[in-house]
Symmetry: C2
Subunit: 412 residues, 2 copies
Amino acid sequence: MKKLIKGLAQAAVYTGVNVQEGEEVYVISSVHAVELTHEVVRLCYERKAKRVVVRYRDDELTRLDYAHQTIDTLTHKPQYVYDERNYFARDDVKGCVISILCSDPNGLKDADGNKISAAHRADMKGLTPYYDKAMSHKVKWSIIAYPHPEWAKLMFPDLKPKDALKKLGKYIAKTTRVDNDNPAAAWEKHNAELKARSKKLKELNIKELHYVNKLGTDLIVGLPEGYVFGGGSDICGGVSFNANMPTEEVFSAPDCRNINGVVKASMPLCYGGKIIEGLSLTLKDGRITDYSADTNLDILKGIIETDEGSRSLGEVALVPYNSPISKLHTLFYETLFDENASCHFAIGEAYPTCIEGGKDMSRDELTKRGLNYSDVHVDFMVGTKDLNITATTRDGKTVPVFVDGNFTKEFE
Amino acid sequence: MKKLIKGLAQAAVYTGVNVQEGEEVYVISSVHAVELTHEVVRLCYERKAKRVVVRYRDDELTRLDYAHQTIDTLTHKPQYVYDERNYFARDDVKGCVISILCSDPNGLKDADGNKISAAHRADMKGLTPYYDKAMSHKVKWSIIAYPHPEWAKLMFPDLKPKDALKKLGKYIAKTTRVDNDNPAAAWEKHNAELKARSKKLKELNIKELHYVNKLGTDLIVGLPEGYVFGGGSDICGGVSFNANMPTEEVFSAPDCRNINGVVKASMPLCYGGKIIEGLSLTLKDGRITDYSADTNLDILKGIIETDEGSRSLGEVALVPYNSPISKLHTLFYETLFDENASCHFAIGEAYPTCIEGGKDMSRDELTKRGLNYSDVHVDFMVGTKDLNITATTRDGKTVPVFVDGNFTKEFE
């Protein structure tokens, strides 16, 4: 664990938010990740951060809150709760945010789904100043994960708790590329590869992507004019950062007025401590006209019925079936990992950076260009071994992008 | 530890802040007291608290902050930091505050004393809305303690770490009266005894108390007209609460214009992670005209030079040498315990409740009556085995109150 802690802390501070002198760093962590937190903070100060603030979360307290607080209390938190994170996205603060995920993905299985959805919606609203900046890369942020005993048990139910934790640690080290001697160099190479792929996908000048597989997905997704594919590191104020560690995806925004057909999730979706299985959406002219799920439909309903924008999609991400995470053939029950094992979409908000010049466009301009806006952004996985994706380009060509779950040679 | 956790949680929630239905509880805890925190929060909700918010502190992070942040950064915290605790003292919030002390008393031994003093001063200023309410019992608050490995090591350096922790746990259980079957009943009896003593001391109608011992203390302390002695539980909005657990003291406020002589601390004073030894003060007409210490004089200087009121005293507390905590003959290096093993004074602010009707007096009225006002309130211990305290009453009688370290029969 010592080695994992050292590696993850370096990944978060050097490659993740890439802390610069004089910055104020907000670390959202867990009482199960105290040692890693210490090392992260130490490295932030070594990089001459001005201030490092840690907020320790605790699954058991979250569980108790949902069990005992009313929906009214959960959705009317004191303002200081939101001021805290929003502070680090203020124009007059050189802030950045490191999130250390260390939680039981199933920790709220007994909680009231309506409470969870309502609280999430209220939190997203309260944190709008932060999320607006984060989504348009005007504040640096990065998410890494650390093994949690219950999470390990859920992933490896047949192992002894100690061995399960160790195995999860190994998987995190491997997928986050900190299991080698020079994680920073490994990330540089990886970022370059993802960027080359993004460039090719932009140059293809795609009008629509057609997804088909045997699971029942048959969906045509339009891309807006001037779309950009992102992937790997991003840039904020001239400084590169990696928002997700691991990351294997290249992603863009759909034209949220031009999505038609049916899409079936290929993996369970863990959201707010609940697991949604068998998710299926039907879309017409970009609106979700029908949805279903085998478990926790109320949670899915809560997500989709948040606002106008949560009835459409905001992200289209391509991840080959032979990606390193996918090859582990292990469900992580954690979007940070599972989304990087599989092609996915997001219900809700699009990243303004997914269109040329979008970072500096007004909300209205972005909407005119087809970029979706919402208080939610929830990824769900759709990739399968047999997924085919065919592009129709703006000049009328038909180009296979995915065959049998993987990129065609041209985009590998 | 299971039994200690159960007992301490009950003490804090039932007897400490005495949580009522619909209240919002703020719990300041430590990453070393996670299990106790869970039990405290569980009991708060069992008592139908509306909301329970936990802030986990972490010694190592505090150490890193002091090592790396500038004095300017430490004294200019973002406003939300103060809004958090102040929220629970707002007029429109039915709030109360539980502090779980679990910290290394020596944890900041290598930190810059000027930084510590300056940061404390800034924090006290930022938290003025809270402290003003807390000092006048307009918000319920309670402090309990939980064993911390480094704290145990400091107290019992000759024991194995595990045994030291266990022993500290036993001492905490004993002094906090949770080592019996009915802690609530034990506290009721104890509170009644302290109240009876307070009543007698009020009825004596004291003009001045004269402290003398061989350590070198020779101090005459005037009490204001209409003084009240507090002790045991207090009342806030008709609900009783115990601010300190343990507590053995009865206390009042001095007339801060009428204190003359020399006072020597009889125990080290732990303040902000530093230990001040050999503290000595000289006072004339209520002003500290000279002060010295054998260690960490800079910290003492920081305290005394905070503002006008920090150059005088704000509390006079009587604790017999044969009190249960004193009888352990163990220095806790923690004021919550050590102040209850010994007569003490406080540098700085007086409790408005220490004068009849003081709770509702304006600042000006309190000042006119001789009650000290300051951003600091720092207890230091002066009791010894040979301490004599003699009262001069307003009608000219001389009455011994303490002989050889203990109350005379009349006040036992």
